[in-house]
C-alpha cells in the first residue's frame, strides 16, 4: 500500500484521477437512488402547484432571505408535531425549485403556517413585527407595500413547467390575469383561477386593498398557502390516530 502510494505521489494526473474517483462514490450511492426508488416521493392525487401569485410571493420570500431564519420542514419528532402539526412529507416540496427546508430556526417553522393567522395579522406583522409580538427580533419589511413586479410571472411558470412542475398551457397563458384575480375576490377572474388551481385556494384582497397588486399581496398569499397544497399529511395523521 505504502509503496503504491509512494509511486502515486509522483504522477500528478494519477493523483487527480484518484481524487475524483474516491470523492465520487459517496454522492453516487446516496443521491442516484433518490431519483430511482419510487417510494422516495409519492405525489398525492390532490397535490397542486403554487398559483402565480403565491409563486411571486415565494420569490419575495427568497429575495428577502426569510429562509435564513425560518425552516419549512417539520421533523418527525413528537414535540415538533405537537407544536407545528403533522411532520412534512417529501411530496409536499416535490414541486419546489429549490426546496426551502432551511437550517436554522431563529423564528418558528413555517411549513404548516397556512390558515393559522388572518391576513391582517400577517400584514401588521410584516410591517412591524413588534406591533404584534413585542419581544420579536424579526426585522420589519415596510417596503412590501410597493407594487408587485409582474414582468416575469408567465416566464416563471413556463420555466418551472419545463422542469416538470405540472403547469399546463392555460395556466401559463393566464398567469398574469390569475395573479391579479387572486387578490380581487369581487372581480370576474376568480372563477377561471379556481378552475385551474382548484376550489381550495384562497382568493382575497390579502393586503386589504383589492385595487392594487402589491408585494404584500403576493407574500401573504404565499404564506397562507404553506402546508395547504395537499391534505396528504393530515390524512395520514388521521389514519394513524383512530
Amino acid at each position: 500500500m505504502l509503496k503504491l502510494h509512494y509511486n502515486l505521489e509522483k504522477v500528478s494526473m494519477g493523483l487527480v484521477g484518484a481524487i475524483i474517483a474516491v470523492a465520487s462514490v459517496g454522492g453516487l450511492v446516496e443521491i442516484a437512488p433518490l431519483f430511482t426508488i419510487e417510494q422516495t416521493v409519492v405525489i398525492p392525487d390532490d397535490m397542486r402547484p403554487h398559483t402565480p401569485l403565491e409563486l411571486a410571493g415565494r420569490e419575495i420570500y427568497i429575495r428577502e432571505g426569510c429562509y435564513a431564519c425560518h425552516s419549512q420542514m417539520v421533523r418527525s419528532l413528537a414535540d415538533e408535531v405537537d407544536r407545528y402539526g403533522p411532520y412534512s412529507l417529501s411530496s409536499e416540496s416535490a414541486y419546489d425549485h429549490p426546496m426551502l427546508w432551511g437550517s436554522k430556526r431563529t423564528g418558528p417553522d413555517l411549513a404548516r403556517l397556512g390558515g393559522k393567522y388572518s391576513d391582517d395579522w400577517h400584514v401588521a406583522h410584516l410591517m412591524d413585527p413588534r406591533a404584534v409580538i413585542p419581544v420579536s427580533i424579526m426585522p420589519a419589511y415596510p417596503w412590501l407595500t410597493r407594487s408587485l413586479d409582474t414582468d416575469l410571472i408567465a416566464e416563471n411558470l413556463a420555466t418551472l413547467a419545463r422542469l416538470g412542475v405540472p403547469y399546463d398551457e392555460a395556466m401559463i397563458d393566464n398567469a398574469m390575469a390569475d395573479a391579479r384575480a387572486q387578490s380581487q375576490p369581487e372581480a370576474d377572474g376568480a372563477d377561471g383561477l379556481r378552475d385551474r388551481y382548484g376550489d381550495d385556494i384562497t382568493v382575497r384582497a390579502f393586503d386589504g386593498d383589492p385595487s392594487r397588486l402589491t408585494e404584500m399581496d403576493a407574500l401573504v398569499a404565499y404564506l397562507q398557502s404553506l402546508g395547504t397544497l395537499t391534505d396528504a399529511a393530515h390524512e395520514m395523521f388521521a389514519e394513524d390516530k383512530p
Binding site: 417510494q39 429575495r63 432571505g65 429562509y67 426546496m99 437550517s103 431563529t106 420589519a140 417596503w143
Partner: protein, 546 residues
C-alpha cells in the same frame, strides 16, 4: 512591484486582450439585462475591464521588460495581491458578521432600507468570509506553497492574475447581488447562473495553472500540502457544477430555477453544503497547515503514513456525510443512517490530521510559547480537533434531534471557522507577509501577540455563549409540563436567547478587532517594505531564458 512591472510585453498584450474581452462581456450583460442586478453586474465587469485595459495599455510599449533573472525567483506578486484581498474581505465579512450579531439582539436598528435587511446581509457575511476571506487566502497561499514545495516558478504569469481578479469579481457580484435581492437561496451557493458560469471559467484556469506548475517540479514527489490543495480545487469544481445546475428564466433576467426539487434538491444541496465545509473550509486549509506549521516550527511532519491515511479518509468519508444535515426530515431513513455512520467514521482521519499537526510540534513547545505566529497555528490545529469532534457528535441522530435548527449549529460553525479556519489563515499571513515584503518581521511584532489574545478570547466567548444558547433553545422546544402540553411558546425561547446573543456580539467584536489590527499591521509592514532576499528561497528548476 505592481502587476505590469512583472509582465513581459507579450504577457501585457495577452492581459490587455483578456481585459478588453471582460469589458465586452460586461457591456453585453448590461445590454441584454437592461436593468436589475444583472445589468449592475455587467456594469461592474465593464468598469473593471476598462480599468485593466488602461492599466495594461499604458504599459504596453514604453515600460521596461522585467529582467531575465526573474526565472530564478518565485512569482509572488499575485500572492501579495491575494493577501491584500484576503485582509479586505476579512474586515468586510467579519464586520457584517458583527453587525448581524448585533441585529439579532437589537432588531430595531435595522435601517428601513431593503438592502440592509438581515436576510439579505446574512449571505453577504457567509460568502464574504468563506469565499472572500477564505477563498483569497486559499488561492494566495496555494501559489506560494505550490512553488516552494515544487521548487518551480508558476507556469505562466497571466493566469494567476486572471484567477485572482476573476475570483474577486465573482465575490463582488455575489455580495452586491444579495443586497439587490438576487439569490438562488441555496446556502453557500447563492449567486445566480451567470456568476456560477464565470466561476467555472476561473476555476478551470486555476486547475490548469496548478497542474502545469506541478509538472515543472524539481522534486519527484508531490508534497502532502499539494494533495490537499488539489482535492480542494477538484472537488469544489464538482460540487459547484452539480449543485448549481439551473434553468435561467430569461437570458436577461439574472434569475433561474434550480433543476433539482424537493427531497433530491435537499440532498444535493447538503452534499454540496457539507463538502463546501470539507473541501473549501477544510482540505485547502489543511494544505496550509501541512506547509506553514512544519516550516515555522522547523520540524518535519511527524508521520508520513498518518498523512496518507488522513488524506484519503477525508476525501472518501466526507462525501457521504452531507445527509446528517437532514436527520428526521422527509429524506429516506437509509440515507440519514449512512450520513450518520460516515460522519462518525470521519472522526478518525480528522483526528489523525489534527494529531499529526500537534505531534509535529513535539520538541518545539518553547517556540509555541514564544512565537505568537506558531501559536496561531497550534490553536488552529486544536480547534480543528475540537470542531470535528463536535461535528461527529452532532451528526448522531438523537443528538441532532436536539441541536438541529438551534444556535448550537452556529456555535459549531464558528468554532470551526474562527478557531480553525481564521486562525490558520492568520498564522499563514504572519508567516508570509514579512518575507514577501523583504523584511525580517512584521512592522509591529507586539500587535501579533495582541491579535492572538483578541482572537482566542473572541472565539471562546462566541462559541461558549452559543453552546449555551443552542442547548437551552433545544431543551425549551421539547419541554412538556405535567399535563402533557408543551411548556414554552416559541417566543419564550427567543427571549431566552437575548443574553447569549449579546455575549456573542461582544465575542465577535473582539475577534473583528483582532482582524482589523492584523490588517493595519500588514499595511504598515507593506509600507515599510525592505529589500531582504532569502537566497535559499528560489526555484531549482530554471527555465531557459528567452
Amino acid at each position: 512591484m505592481t502587476m505590469t512591472a512583472t509582465l513581459t510585453s507579450t504577457e501585457r498584450r495577452i492581459g490587455f486582450a483578456i481585459s478588453a474581452a471582460l469589458a465586452v462581456l460586461g457591456l453585453t450583460m448590461a445590454a441584454v439585462a437592461k436593468s436589475g442586478p444583472m445589468a449592475v453586474h455587467g456594469a461592474m465587469a465593464l468598469v473593471l475591464g476598462v480599468a485593466l485595459v488602461f492599466h495594461l495599455g499604458g504599459a504596453l510599449y514604453d515600460h521596461p521588460e522585467p529582467s531575465n533573472r526573474r526565472h530564478a525567483e518565485y512569482y509572488d506578486a499575485p500572492t501579495r495581491f491575494g493577501i491584500v484581498m484576503t485582509l479586505i474581505w476579512a474586515v468586510v465579512g467579519m464586520g457584517v458578521g458583527v453587525w448581524l450579531a448585533a441585529l439579532m439582539y437589537w432588531p430595531e436598528a435595522t435601517p428601513l432600507w431593503p438592502g440592509t435587511s438581515y436576510g439579505r446581509l446574512r449571505p453577504v457575511h457567509t460568502s464574504g468570509v468563506i469565499f472572500g476571506f477564505g477563498g483569497n487566502a486559499l488561492i494566495a497561499t496555494s501559489f506560494y506553497v505550490l512553488q516552494r514545495t515544487s521548487r518551480a516558478r508558476l507556469a505562466d504569469a497571466v493566469s494567476p492574475w486572471f484567477v485572482l481578479i476573476g475570483f474577486n469579481l465573482f465575490c463582488a457580484w455575489a455580495a452586491t447581488g444579495y443586497l439587490m435581492g438576487q439569490t438562488q437561496s441555496k446556502e453557500y451557493a447563492e449567486p445566480e447562473w451567470y456568476a456560477d458560469l464565470w466561476l467555472v471559467v476561473v476555476w478551470v484556469t486555476y486547475f490548469v495553472l496548478y497542474i502545469r506548475t506541478l509538472a515543472r517540479r524539481a522534486e519527484p514527489h508531490i508534497y502532502v500540502a499539494n494533495w490537499y490543495y488539489m482535492a480542494f480545487i477538484l472537488v469544489v469544481a464538482m460540487l459547484h457544477i452539480v449543485n448549481n445546475l439551473a434553468l435561467p428564466v430569461t437570458w436577461g433576467s439574472g434569475e433561474s430555477f434550480t433543476i433539482w426539487s424537493g427531497v433530491q434538491d435537499a440532498m444535493i444541496q447538503w452534499w454540496y453544503g457539507h463538502n463546501a465545509v470539507a473541501f473549501f473550509l477544510t482540505a485547502g486549509f489543511l494544505g496550509m497547515l501541512y506547509y506553514f506549521l512544519p516550516v515555522r516550527a522547523q520540524r518535519p511532519i511527524w508521520s508520513y503514513r498518518l498523512s496518507i491515511l488522513s488524506f484519503w479518509g477525508i476525501v472518501f468519508f466526507y462525501m457521504w456525510a452531507g445527509s446528517h444535515h437532514l436527520h428526521y426530515t422527509a429524506l429516506p431513513y437509509w440515507v440519514q443512517t449512512l450520513g450518520m455512520t460516515f460522519s462518525i467514521m470521519l472522526l478518525v482521519p480528522s483526528w489523525a490530521s489534527a494529531g499529526n499537526a500537534i505531534a509535529t510540534l513535539n520538541g518545539a513547545w518553547h517556540k509555541v510559547r514564544d512565537d505568537a505566529v506558531l501559536r496561531f497555528m497550534f490553536v488552529a490545529a486544536v480547534f480543528y480537533g475540537l470542531s470535528t469532534f463536535e461535528g461527529s457528535f452532532l451528526a448522531i441522530r438523537p443528538v441532532n434531534a436536539l441541536s438541529h435548527y438551534t444556535d448550537w449549529t452556529v456555535g459549531h460553525v464558528h468554532s470551526g471557522t474562527l478557531g480553525w479556519v481564521a486562525m490558520i489563515v492568520f498564522g499563514a499571513i504572519y508567516s508570509m507577509v514579512p518575507k514577501l515584503w523583504g523584511r525580517d518581521d512584521m512592522a509591529w511584532p507586539k500587535a501579533v501577540e495582541w491579535h492572538f489574545w483578541l482572537a482566542i478570547t473572541g472565539t471562546l466567548i462566541y462559541v461558549v455563549s452559543l453552546w449555551n444558547a443552542g442547548i437551552t433553545q433545544g431543551l425549551m422546544w421539547r419541554a412538556y409540563d405535567e399535563g402533557g402540553a408543551l411548556s414554552y411558546s416559541f417566543i419564550e425561547s427567543v427571549e431566552a436567547m437575548l443574553p447569549y446573543y449579546a455575549a456573542r456580539t461582544l465575542g465577535g467584536a473582539l475577534f473583528l478587532a483582532g482582524a482589523v489590527l492584523c490588517a493595519l499591521n500588514c499595511g504598515a509592514t507593506m509600507r515599510a517594505a525592505g529589500d531582504q532576499v532569502d537566497e535559499a528561497d528560489r526555484p531549482l528548476y530554471t527555465q531557459p531564458a528567452e
